[in-house]
Symmetry: C2
Subunit: 346 residues, 2 copies
Amino acid sequence: MAASTHNQNRSWTLKERPPGLVGPEHFNWVTSPMPEPGPGQILVKSLYFSCDPTQRGWLHAEGGYIAPVAIGEAMRAGGVGQVVASNAPGFEPGDLIQGTLAWSDFVVVTPGAGLTPVTKVSKDYPLTWNFSVFGLTTLTAYFGLLHTGEMKAGDVVLVSGAAGATGSVVGQIAKIKGASKVIGIAGGAEKCRWLVEEGGFDAAIDYKTDDIALKIKEHAPQGVDVFFDNVGGDCLDAALMNLKAGSRVVICGGISTGYASWSAPEGPKNYMNLILHGAAMKGFLVLHFMAEFGKAMAEIGQWVREGKLKVKETVVEGLENAPAALQGLFTGKNLGKMIIKVADPL
Amino acid sequence: MAASTHNQNRSWTLKERPPGLVGPEHFNWVTSPMPEPGPGQILVKSLYFSCDPTQRGWLHAEGGYIAPVAIGEAMRAGGVGQVVASNAPGFEPGDLIQGTLAWSDFVVVTPGAGLTPVTKVSKDYPLTWNFSVFGLTTLTAYFGLLHTGEMKAGDVVLVSGAAGATGSVVGQIAKIKGASKVIGIAGGAEKCRWLVEEGGFDAAIDYKTDDIALKIKEHAPQGVDVFFDNVGGDCLDAALMNLKAGSRVVICGGISTGYASWSAPEGPKNYMNLILHGAAMKGFLVLHFMAEFGKAMAEIGQWVREGKLKVKETVVEGLENAPAALQGLFTGKNLGKMIIKVADPL
């Protein structure tokens, strides 16, 4: 079989559950014999991994919407790989697939038995687009803004974590759908420049140097209709001071909390402003909209082909850098979708 | 004129803006000459005052949905009074009216020019019913539960501040509308006893002695569909640990914060649970539903006449006790609607 030239498999396994910010110190870099696929299984060579904030949640002992990663287990990640050996019908060596893989050079997968299905991927576009353009972060932006946030043409839309994988797409979809103004909050001059000059945002607020609440008021004196929050903390409290009547605050994430636990270190102090404005703070998981993924992807693909939607990627090279890349999500190292490149396809 | 037998008018005026819990020390007990109604005005003798958490908000310098009470001004309150002299068409001495009055034995009012209209009240039911049965707290319960909370038959409903004016009505309306289970959170054994034995609640949780989150889980193992929150703080965080998919958290108030400012000392740490459950936290002001007040009052009146809805009152006697009564709202002194009785009608 194709993998026979490799005798060793390198992996990052979970050493201990991180109490706060996740980092390389919470994983072990281990080398083990090449795994063998059993009946109905395939051996997959890892090519790319997606970095997602939700991975941090998988490290909590108490679990969440899926089971936690076990101590000693290779870290779970959404990935694209290439089949090198197959005992499963419908999969041949050389096939490019995506699904839930693990931080290993090679991984054995049972199609149809995992957390997400293993599906073959198209060769019509770059492999990384499976995470960026057609990944869950883009779908999260789409459904969070249009369904949960009920965005309508003419709305003033505010986005935190605006230079991130989800935020950068939220802003662009808002413009495509006729928002009267789209304001992004991001960290640092380079990200803010990207938002306005390339990302299509009307205005950018640098949370590292600006008074966030004051700047929101300056850009949206009548308040915002939709606030799409990826960050929590000060960004959320500042937005809650600038709501319009009947506005929607979409809680997508709280990256500023580092996802150190299921509860934030501090909740939004200004949540009672929801009362004055008859506003709603709404949570959602993109999985709630799974039945509509196909339709959304068709629309998203069309926007990308027409050049209306630019999906930005930050690619970190090397499996050995996987834990640092994941940590980088929480410390603002990425512009757009954070991706780990492990290998090129054969 | 009828008031000529009185030479003096006693009032509680605002001495200073309370930094935290409001109390008698923030008001001055002053005696001034009897006021005289000008053209288009009426002189009203105060009979009853409503005590409402929203009054605390009127003491913030920065204002809110209405202008703040000024330092030196008599404290504003919803009240029922009797006209003792009138220069306004349509009002005669002896008429019983309600509107925004002030903590004074006598107050001059300009019908049609105040914050709320001055309206004549019915003699068909006790005067206090204008605050309890037909007051804003009952309407708040009605619209908050049925409109903002979108309560449907079969829902599991949780209410904090359940022995208060709004909470006690929320629980009863939930039962009337077919909730499968109604759980109340209140402070102390006597209130909890009232909830279950007289208030029609299925279960009561004593936040002073119980582990709130654990008890909610015990009474609602599948989670709650609607949480109606009058309290904030620990109650809100405990409820956020017990949400059902698609559930609604109605933010009506945050009495545990003392309304010391427009922001709470601590926000809900568990707000990100809204994500996992695709849940919404929704604020509202009863004034948003003003157009539907008449219809709601007709339905509420019917329930009261049929004995389905029991509206509880706590009446404090004497204008001199007004500040203490208001403070009592924030320290849990009331069962049902807190009312101050100043005088009987002539």
